[in-house]
Amino acid sequence: MERDQPQDEVLIARIAQGEVEALASLYDRYGRLVYSLAMTMLRDRAAAEEVTQDAFLSLWRAAASYRAERGRVATWLWAIARHRAIDELRRLKNSQALSLDFSPDFQPGEVNPGESLEDASLMRLHVRRALAQLHEPQRRAIQLAYFRGLTQREIAEGLGEPLGTIKTRIRLGLHRLKQLLQREE
């Protein structure tokens, strides 16, 4: 974030006063991040745009109730977008087979074409590198839970694995991820 840019909290206060320009600034700051999460979850440009728009509309309507101690703005936007995307995934699940073909769309430490060095923030590199160091079955279980919004039982049924195996993968995988992220700090 550039030094002369207003802080998120300042923009949120202006949004609560009905300033569309402040929301535009926040969109410029986080629009790509929110859209990227929605695209990773939904893999559909139109649906991801709808989710992104919903996330910012929700923020616009609820800016007055934002409290910094509850979490960062990006986290708030991500939570709204993820929740909305899971609803969409569950709606789709009722009309088609459950998709478990979640494969990593990144390589550890890789900067993708079209992605500036500024975008490839340290945090993003840390998280990608940490995920890449997990055993593949653990990473897959975590990704299906987080990015597909599936419960442990749904993952077990979808993969044809015992429920206990999936529970262990998620537990050990997230423990390992926690250690790896702490080591990166």
Binding site: G18, V20, L23, A24, Y27, D28, G31, L33, Y35, S36, L37, M39, T40, R45, A48, E49, T52, Q53, D54, L57, S58, W60, R61, R70, G71, W76, W78, A79, I80, H83, R84, D105, F106, N112, G114, E115, D119, M123, R124, H126, V127, R128, L131, I142, A145, Y146, F147, G149, T151, Q152, R153, I155, K167, I170, R171, G173, L174, H175, K178, L181
Partner: protein
């Protein structure tokens, strides 16, 4: 033989990673929710894993939305802003001043047309935004519930089952000086068709509604509610059975009560 606290903690700690990913369900999720209020070490662990889960979106490959998305979003926000009542009346008043020289009949006709058009926009916006509002409310409740368990700055107030629900029990989690609180209740009787539980906040003999909630098949309820004032302003809380649309004051049997 009842499990020791250490055994129970150990079981809960195994569930917390799946809990923060939202992949627990049913009894396991309820087990975590019941355990957290009394266990600071479990809440600390929850906070640690919550931070891990919140880092996961960074794994998504950065992609750029169409430029038109921002234009559509801003245009929609502008329409919402203009449709707010204060903006509408200012706008109509401004046109009224311009049209005043045409005479009262023309003025009334034009104001009527403009007002009808503006109100129709408001109605359409309200319909479109209803779904998003509902979604946001659910999300905000989840975030608040998580915050209750991770901040640890709340008081726990026991709720006692009353004559019509002697086995019911539960507690309120109240943050000091906050108007938001959480009710957790167990073994409440199943509701009949068209009924809901209604929470009442009692102050100087007056009862303010804290909202409606229902229970799951096992009589369990988690309910975040917002009072009109900080909870310290109230002396007691009660829960009664009411029609599903709610009542202006308690009419049905009382099932839970607590002194604040």
């Amino acid at each position: 033989m009842p499990k020791s606290k250490a055994t129970r903690c150990s079981e809960i700690h195994k569930l917390i990673p799946a809990f923060v990913l939202g992949s627990l369900e049913g009894e396991e999720q309820a087990l975590v929710l019941r355990h957290l209020p009394d266990c600071p070490p479990s809440r600390r662990l929850l906070e640690e894993f919550r931070q891990v889960a919140e880092a996961l979106p960074y794994a998504a490959t950065l992609q750029t939305p169409a430029l038109a998305l921002k234009r559509r979003l801003l245009a929609r926000l502008e329409r919402e802003r203009l449709a707010q009542p204060a903006h509408l009346w200012m706008w109509l008043a401004s046109w009224g001043r311009r049209l005043a020289p045409l005479g009262p009949a023309a003025l009334l006709l034009l104001l009527g047309l403009l007002g009808g058009w503006a109100l129709s926009i408001q109605g359409e916006l309200a319909r479109q935004s209803g779904m998003v509002d509902q979604l946001f409310d659910q999300l905000r409740d989840q975030q608040l519930a998580m915050a209750f368990f991770t901040t640890g700055e709340y008081s726990r107030i026991p709720l006692q089952g009353q004559a019509d629900a002697a086995e019911a029990w539960g507690f309120l989690m109240v943050e000091p000086d906050e108007s938001v609180a959480m009710l957790l209740a167990y073994k409440l009787p199943a509701l009949g068709e068209g009924q809901a539980y209604q929470l009442w906040l009692i102050r100087n003999g007056e009862r303010d509604s804290g909202g409606l909630f229902s229970v799951d098949a096992s009589g369990r309820a988690y309910f975040l509610f917002r009072a009109g004032e900080p909870l310290g302003a109230y002396q007691a809380v009660g829960v009664t059975v009411e029609p599903e649309e709610g009542s202006p004051g308690p009419t049905g049997p009382r099932v839970l009560a607590a002194s604040l």
